[in-house]
Symmetry: C2
Subunit: 186 residues, 2 copies
């Protein structure tokens, strides 16, 4: 167990807070931890009636590539520091990134993306009974440039296994869907 005894914030950005925490252990020893503070995020496996999942291709600077991912995004944070409800954020992100709404929502799980250095908690959902938002436009966030595509879910899972879908939340989401869809596994 570690207790934070000092926290030095180096930078507060739109989503990230770069900080160096000093922790004290039960034995009294002190250590520093570099932490990328994050408000949390949502990711959505959107499955249509034909068994296809919605995927978005987006430029990811850290990967220096356009990655194929499930729709996702960070929780909004209000001026008073209050975080957006993940259930609402999932609906907002799905609509913003794909122009879709879903009548049926199921929370699959919640996990840390990289618990060694960030508190980003990812809330993962399955969205079904999809419909297009008539007045919607793709990518209203001017800072995002997304391309929507659809893949039969088995092909998407295979793409993850081949390394063509290569971010953690998307792989977790697709494998989770595969487990739900394949009675033989459970």
């Amino acid at each position: 167990m570690e207790r934070v005894v000092e926290s030095r914030v180096l930078h507060r950005g739109k989503f990230l807070e770069f900080r160096i925490d000093t922790v004290e252990r039960l034995d009294g020893s002190r250590h520093t931890r570099d932490i990328a503070g994050h408000p949390g995020a949502v990711a959505v496996v959107a499955l249509d009636a034909a068994g296809r999942v919605a995927l978005v291709r987006q430029w990811r600077l850290p990967a220096d590539a356009a990655l194929l991912e499930i729709p996702a995004g960070g929780l909004d944070v209000a001026d008073d520091g209050a975080k957006e409800d993940p259930d609402l954020a999932a609906r907002r992100e799905l609509e913003e990134e794909t122009g879709l709404r879903a009548a049926t929502w199921r929370k699959l799980g919640t996990f840390y993306t990289a618990p060694g250095f960030t508190d980003e908690l990812m809330h993962l959902y399955l969205a079904t009974d999809l419909s297009a938002v008539v007045e919607g436009r793709l990518g209203p966030d001017a800072d995002e440039a997304l391309i929507l595509s659809w893949l039969p879910w088995r092909e998407a899972v295979a793409a993850a296994e081949r390394g063509e879908i290569r971010d953690a939340k998307s792989i977790v989401g697709l494998f989770w869907l595969a487990r739900l869809r394949s009675d033989g596994v459970r």
Copy 2:
């Protein structure tokens, strides 16, 4: 596509580099990106002859909890900036964190843990034909305090589905193993 035109490093730690990159798009617009630079990491699904997987429980400050995870760790970086080979790092981390060696290694996949803000690339392995290192001690890294435990792989997968194993690399690793073990899925 985005091209980095300026990179301002705020902090260089043991693993992380906090920086603010300025990028230019094809349309000439400029944007800033907060990036947590990371050398990359390895994670190991270690499966014994009885069908049990090795799990380590470790305090994770960002989660403010001791998380149950598969053995993992960052790539070492030499003074000249050269990164450790992931194949070797996987062997080193497995031995350091569990006191185990494996005669058979298989690379399962490579993925970004959180490509929105970090370039951490996770190299995932399956290790089998395990043996204990006689002279080994657990957690030689004085900065780590690990508790090793073993779970039948189906129970570990179920623990992930129940939210008891809740970090991305571990869920990906366990679900990947489940897919390999369950012919019905493929």
